[in-house]
Amino acid sequence: MSDNSSLRTPSQRIAWTATIAISTLVFIFLIAPILAIMPLSFSSGSYLTYPLPGLSLRWYDDFINSPRWMNSLKNSMIIGVASTLLSMVLGTLAALGLAQWKSRFKPLVLAFVLSPVVVPGVITAVGLYFFFAPIGLTGSYLGLILAHTALATPFVVITVGATLQSFDTNLARAAASLGASPLQAFRRVILPLILPGLASGALFAFATSFDEVVIVLFMAGPEQRTLPREMFSGIRENISPTITAAAVILTTVSVILLATLEALRRRNERLKGGGA
């Protein structure tokens, strides 16, 4: 399986070593900035430099006791959870429909449904800014939730759609033939099988909203500022160690999301492997 066995000539060995060396440097490039910023949040000093003068939790204390930061964390959660729920409903229904729908317009509809992912954030934001302002949806939670749902739904459609594609419809037929009502078949057979796909979709949707800043920049009033929005102003004005504390909190959320997703993927693969 491994290529190492086929490395017979010296030039091949050199090429392989070079690949490993370059890749190692790229891995460092990818991961080092994220790791470098973390210890700074535990610094007892107020400069963002190494070596640290000492360790403390004062910047986390600062974060927790700052109404501005805590409010932004709360807003991120409210908007993230609400737009995840909404995009799950819309996206799952659409994925179920698209899986059955046969039409020559299907690629076009699919392209339209996925287009929010491709269109530059600024364009969506400017469009929404013009469109939502006259109807009072700028500076409101509802406006941000609707906008984030539009951005997040394509990911739900993709992940749930992929799960449905690998779903064996014979299982549903088997359930029906064994006397299960459609609802029972859905709850007992279909749902457990597509649940990991639904969960992955939800994680993608939440991550999209949780990380989004361009639309928030245009549409949020001071009351609806999210965590990334607050970080944006913080970086613009003056990078205090409190921002690094915020960064660690955000990264922790990302790691939890990523780990959950990975666990779901493994579970799914195991289920598939067991069936084969």
């Binding site: 491994s2 290529d3 030039s11 091949q12 690949t19 370059i22 890749s23 790229v26 490039f29 990818l30 080092a32 900035p33 994220i34 910023i37 963002l48 430099t49 190494y50 229904l93 659409a94 179920l96 429909g97 059955q100 729908w101 039409s103 509809v109 392209a111 449904v113 287009s115 992912v117 491709v118 269109v119 530059p120 954030g121 600024v122 364009i123 400017v126 929404l128 013009f130 469109f131 749902t149 539009a150 739904t153 459609v157 993608f204 991550a207 999209t208 949780f210 990380d211 800043v213 361009v214 245009f218 990334p228 970080m231 970086i235 690094t244 960064a247 955000l250 990302s254 790691v255 990523l258």
Partner: protein, 414 residues
């Protein structure tokens, strides 16, 4: 035989009807999302595109003037009727407080028009007597003797205009209506588009150079080890864009980790300028976009069977030849998909250049945002947005053709 065909036809029809019901039900499931996106996505973008050509401000503020100029050929100064109409409009607009609205729009087309209009409005005490309007207006401001002043008003008469779209491409109409290059002080957008394009291209190239060996390594290693190393790609991918941008500022600033280390090692004597310039923008953007290159490359390499390379070797091809002639061509779809994806995403970048770039490194999105929120030149912002949208969609169509049938991975970030 007749009996069989008699029962067969209704069955076929019943099946077709059942299928049609199924299709309608399927469409009904997609419909809520389509309606939702119409309201929260397509509608707003269509609205923005409409603003790029919408030109009704001057028409609303100076309605009689626009009407009077409708039949003016633009060769000589307009007649007394037009002057009288303008005087009447200015009086009415001053009473309504709408002068500034028209002045702002006209000033985009002709620098200094704001002053002409506001000074005229200030000095025009009463509606001039019949037949003296021309004389009165020219006495207040000699600009009313210039043909270009009037062609500017006529051109801005709307209701739709190509003015903003032309301006977005550094073009304008001269007094005779011909499309010419915009004056140098306004001709900045081609440079900005070129800069956006160059930065995106550079970042794409960097991503490809850095991403290719990594994707190759991940695709060649045994699954256990490559899954472990994949974390190095996926963790940054999932980390907030703001966190990563912030991290680069902390690393690259003049008292940052990189400069400190280089100073300590004695490689440099004074801190290098690594951020708030083009270098910083390229580094940070490459960092953010690299996973979008690695993942499609990885999946295209994963699909290449090692048997091909073994076959090439057994047929006597030297390793380099086998790589160049057998392996590399098979990665081309992956290279194309990854490069296009990175390029498309880079084109629309706003947050990263805004935070780690200098004034000369801002990309087109920055100016769209600037004209929307700061100067409120919505027509120009929309026109620039229209150009960016067109470029993005064209590339996205090419991308769509390229990855047809392949699964899409995502988690797009700007």
């Amino acid at each position: 035989m007749t009996a069989a065909s008699l029962t067969e036809v209704p069955l076929k029809r019943r099946l077709r009807r059942a299928e049609r019901t199924r299709q309608v039900k399927a469409l009904a499931l997609v419909l809520p999302l389509l309606v939702f996106l119409l309201f929260t996505f397509a509608g707003p973008i269509a609205g923005m595109l409409w603003r790029a050509v919408d030109d009704r401000e001057v028409r609303q503020v100076l309605p009689q003037t626009i009407a009077a100029l409708a039949n003016w050929d633009g060769k000589d100064l307009p007649d007394e009727k037009a002057y009288a109409a303008l005087a009447g409009d200015i009086q009415a607009a001053r009473a309504a407080g709408t002068i500034a609205l028209a002045a702002k729009r006209l000033n985009y087309a002709l620098n200094g028009f704001r002053t002409i209009l506001t000074s005229t409005a200030r000095n025009l005490k009463a509606v001039p007597e019949a037949g003296t309007a021309k004389e009165t207006l020219i006495k207040i401001n000699s600009a009313w003797r210039e043909r270009t002043t009037w062609t500017t008003i006529k051109d801005a008469g709307g209701p739709i205009t190509g003015f903003y779209l032309l301006a977005a491409l550094d073009l304008t109409r001269n007094a005779d209506g011909a499309i010419v290059a915009a004056p140098p002080d306004q001709a900045i957008y081609r440079d900005i588009f070129a800069r956006t394009f160059l930065i995106s291209l550079g970042v794409t190239a960097l991503c490809l150079i850095l991403g290719f060996p990594v994707a190759y390594l991940l695709a060649t290693l045994p699954p256990g080890r490559s899954n472990l190393l994949m974390i190095f790609v996926l963790l940054p991918f999932w980390t907030s864009l703001l966190v990563r941008t912030c991290a680069w500022i902390v690393l690259l600033q003049s008292k940052g980790v990189v400069n400190d280390s280089l100073l300590w090692l004695g490689i440099i004597d004074e801190p290098l300028r690594l951020i708030y310039n083009r270098f910083g923008v390229c580094v940070a953007m490459t960092h953010v976009l690299l996973p979008f290159m690695i993942l499609p490359l990885y999946s295209s390499m994963k699909a290449i069977s090692p048997a091909y390379m073994r076959a090439a070797a057994s047929l006597g091809a030297p390793p380099l030849t086998a790589f160049l002639r057998i392996y590399l061509p098979q990665t081309l779809p992956g290279i194309g998909a990854g490069s296009l994806l990175v390029f498309i995403l880079a084109l629309g970048y706003y947050i990263t250049p805004a935070l780690v770039g200098g004034a000369a490194d801002q990309m087109i999105s920055y100016f769209i945002a600037l004209y929307t929120t700061e100067t409120a030149n919505w027509g120009l912002a929309s026109a620039l947005g229209a150009v960016l949208l067109l470029a993005t969609l064209l590339l996205a169509i090419v991308y769509g053709k390229l990855v047809q049938g392949q699964p899409v991975t995502g988690g797009m970030k700007n």
